[in-house]
């Protein structure tokens, strides 16, 4: 019975859905937390409104590692999704090499991406002169967040650079509050280290280390020493702490500072705090810091069905449109990848970011410069150095060895 009714139901559905059935789009992503889910919903709603059918496939966990594994397995196994989320960088490099991704040159030419996108974002999503991914947002990991009330109580000046932050932390420490809230997990220690690196030697040092793989400069040594100095400002409960708990410490006034990406802003917003009033922000590398490109892109695997390409084009066009860029990024806490959008609804921290993009202060991120393998090995070395009494010399040696992997 069920066997015979299946085609009938199928036909019915097709009639109901009309031409839209041709525009079915299955999207794999790892945006499962409250704010993230709300952000992807913006895309889903817009796509449905445009006559398509959005099939949501969220896969939680592992900072996206699980979702990327599913995507890789399904693409290898011949059952690819319509679109899949990745971070900027080299996570999908091998899938392109294996010839399993569609390029987006049609959409890009039509939408004039060459003009639209800032040079460095363009480079991040272009491989061999072809667009293989649509960028949807810009996150920056090198922010410093602080609780204004804690600083005021300690009589400390609100800093705009790392040097000033050290002065402020001394006062906070004297007032009996933990100066720096750090989640002692490898990736968070890595973010802290890269913030210090940018503050010490800016873009030149950053590229020297992560592009030329050279950790022998005096600048790098100074950064490593400064990084160690931070340890005196961290509380004993730090090891193993999750990033959002560390953010919570700043929100509740149990700590003054946290060095964390702009996704931390979501926690402040959820707690009903207002940027510039309850909490402040500055870029770890100072006001003129180059904005390290981080964030998300979508790629579109080759499909067996001929009409699937149309759905992919429609998705790509929608994701990069000015209206969707604002709607999506306001929910996500990141900033749009295009500068021709309305910034009035953004908070002061996001506006600093938009300003950086307008001035072209963009920097290739570590994920773009190195394979995930090397990024991980480097973070291992940084974490080892932070959590042991390893000498600066030995630390630099281990970090250098990791870079050469």
């Amino acid at each position: 019975m069920t066997f015979r009714s299946a085609p009938i139901v199928g036909a019915l559905l097709a009639v109901l859905a009309g031409t839209a059935s041709a525009q079915k789009a299955e999207v794999i992503h790892w945006w499962t937390s409250g704010g993230e889910a709300a952000a992807i919903k913006e895309f889903a709603n817009a796509y449905t409104k445009a006559g398509g059918t959005w099939v949501d496939t969220p896969i939680a966990g592992g900072g996206g590692a699980q979702a990327r594994t599913v995507m890789a397995n399904r693409t290898m196994g011949g059952d690819p999704p319509t679109a899949a989320q990745y971070n900027y960088g080299r996570q999908y490099e091998e899938i392109i090499k294996a010839g399993l991704l569609n390029d987006l040159d049609d959409v890009a030419t039509k939408g004039n991406w060459d003009k639209l996108l800032p040079e460095k974002i363009k480079n991040a999503v272009k491989v061999n002169g072809k667009y293989f991914a649509v960028p949807v947002n810009l996150h920056n990991e090198n922010w410093v967040w602080y609780n204004k009330a804690v600083l005021a109580k300690a009589g400390a000046k609100e800093p705009t650079t790392l040097d000033e932050m050290f002065a402020a932390m001394d006062k906070v420490k004297a007032s009996g509050v933990t100066p720096l809230a750090l989640g002692g997990q490898g990736w968070q220690e890595g973010i802290t280290f890269r913030g210090v690196l940018l503050a010490t030697g800016g873009q030149d040092l950053f590229l020297k280390v992560f592009k030329d793989k050279d950790a022998s400069t005096p600048g790098f040594r100074k950064a490593v020493e400064t990084f160690r100095k931070l340890k005196g400002y961290v509380d004993s409960g730090s090891p193993g702490r999750d990033w959002n708990l560390a953010t919570g410490m700043v929100i509740e006034g149990k700590a003054a500072f946290q060095m964390m990406g702009d996704w931390a802003k979501g926690e402040f917003v959820n707690a009903g705090k207002v940027a510039g009033k309850d909490y402040g922000c500055f870029m770890a590398g100072g006001p003129k810091m180059p904005y390290q490109i981080g964030g998300d892109v979508f790629v579109f695997p080759k499909q067996k069905a001929a009409d699937a390409a149309a759905a992919q084009k429609k998705l790509a066009e929608m994701m990069i449109s000015p209206e969707m860029q604002v709607a999506f990024n306001n929910k996500k806490g990141s900033i749009p990848i295009r500068t021709d959008v309305d910034t009035s609804k953004m908070d002061i921290c996001a506006q600093m970011g938009v300003q950086a993009v307008k001035e072209g202060r963009l920097l290739q991120g570590t994920n773009e410069l190195m394979s995930p393998d090397v990024v991980g090995a480097f973070e291992d070395a940084v974490s080892k150095f932070w959590n042991s009494n390893q000498s600066v010399d030995d630390g630099i040696k281990a970090m250098q060895a990791a870079l050469k992997r």
């Binding site: 890789a72 091998e94 997990q185 932070w386």
Partner: protein, 299 residues
């Protein structure tokens, strides 16, 4: 010892019924093992590649600090965990064997931790050891200002904290195994020993425990396998930290397999683990089967 001859057809049906399982086992387990070995000799990153790079992955593996540290940690955990569980499990089994009142209650309580997943176990122990909200915090709130219990954030103590959580979780099963074996020991021996004026502790040490060899071998094999798989409790309690102070091989493998897109290195690490487990466990399993064969022949 003549067995009643079984009808041949039943035998055939039995084998036919087992066939899917056998095929699954062969394909899924042995196949995966062979596949991992193959991958460990390639330069695969995200996707499997068909090239040969000889022992490169193994060389890199043993040049990697984190791997070497992980293996050392596994050695330390082996001592803490296996010795701890066997001693505690034996004591609990002997305690229950004294025909105590409410035996089933005790058995249930001792076994309960095993019913909980390592994620829950890890979380509970992580809270207990957390200096800002666990036991240390509680005691200080009650006025004992100098009380310190911060094992999970100290690089030199974190492994003991994890070992403790694992012992707490694993002792129950070992107790059950030992208890079952204890119940198999002939009561008459105790009567004879008592007539000779042997004390109870002495009786257990010299008479009973030596008869439990195969039970201990079983317990040891189960513990060793659980030890090698140690992953979730570490992830939940410390995520390998502080630094690399509680990294374990299984976590190294999973990290490189998924997060770091290096399946060749992860496979090399798995192969090393497999070989290690085999060299330790194979002789033991062989010995146990010999002992059991002898015992059943004697009966």
């Amino acid at each position: 010892m003549a067995r009643p001859a079984r009808p041949r057809r039943l035998n055939l049906a039995l084998h036919a019924a087992l066939l899917p399982l056998a095929i699954t086992a062969l394909l899924a387990y042995v196949g995966s093992v062979l596949w991992s070995i193959r991958i460990s000799f390639s330069s695969s990153k995200l996707f499997p590649r068909d090239d040969w790079v000889g022992l490169d992955q193994f060389v890199r593996l043993f040049e990697t600090d984190r791997w070497n540290v992980s293996v050392q940690h596994l050695g330390i955990l082996a001592l803490i965990y296996i010795v701890g569980v066997i001693v505690l499990g034996t004591l609990m089994a002997i305690f229950i064997d004294q025909q105590v009142k409410g035996e089933s209650w005790f058995r249930t309580i001792f076994l309960y931790p095993y019913a909980m997943s390592f994620v829950v176990t890890g979380l509970i122990w992580q809270w207990l050891f957390n200096p800002n909200l666990g036991l240390q915090h509680a005691f200080r709130m009650m006025g004992w200002e100098s009380f310190i219990l911060d094992w999970t954030v100290r690089t030199d103590m974190v492994l003991y904290a994890i070992g403790l959580a694992m012992i707490w979780q694993g002792s129950g099963t070992t107790m059950a195994i030992i208890l079952a074996a204890l119940r198999g020991v002939d009561e008459e021996q105790w009567k004879a020993a008592r007539l000779d004026g042997v004390s109870k502790p002495r009786y257990y040490l010299s008479v009973v425990l030596p008869q439990l060899g195969p039970a201990y071998a079983t317990a040891f094999v189960l513990l060793a396998v659980a030890l090698v798989r140690t992953f979730d409790v570490v992830v939940v309690m410390t995520s390998g930290g502080p630094g690399d102070a509680s990294e374990v091989p299984a976590k190294f493998i999973v990290d490189h397999l998924f997060g770091r897109n290096n399946i060749a290195l992860a496979s090399a690490a798995s192969v090393v683990m497999l070989v290690t487990v085999f060299t330790v466990l194979a002789p033991l399993l062989y010995w146990r089967s010999r002992v059991q064969a002898r015992l059943s022949a004697g009966h």
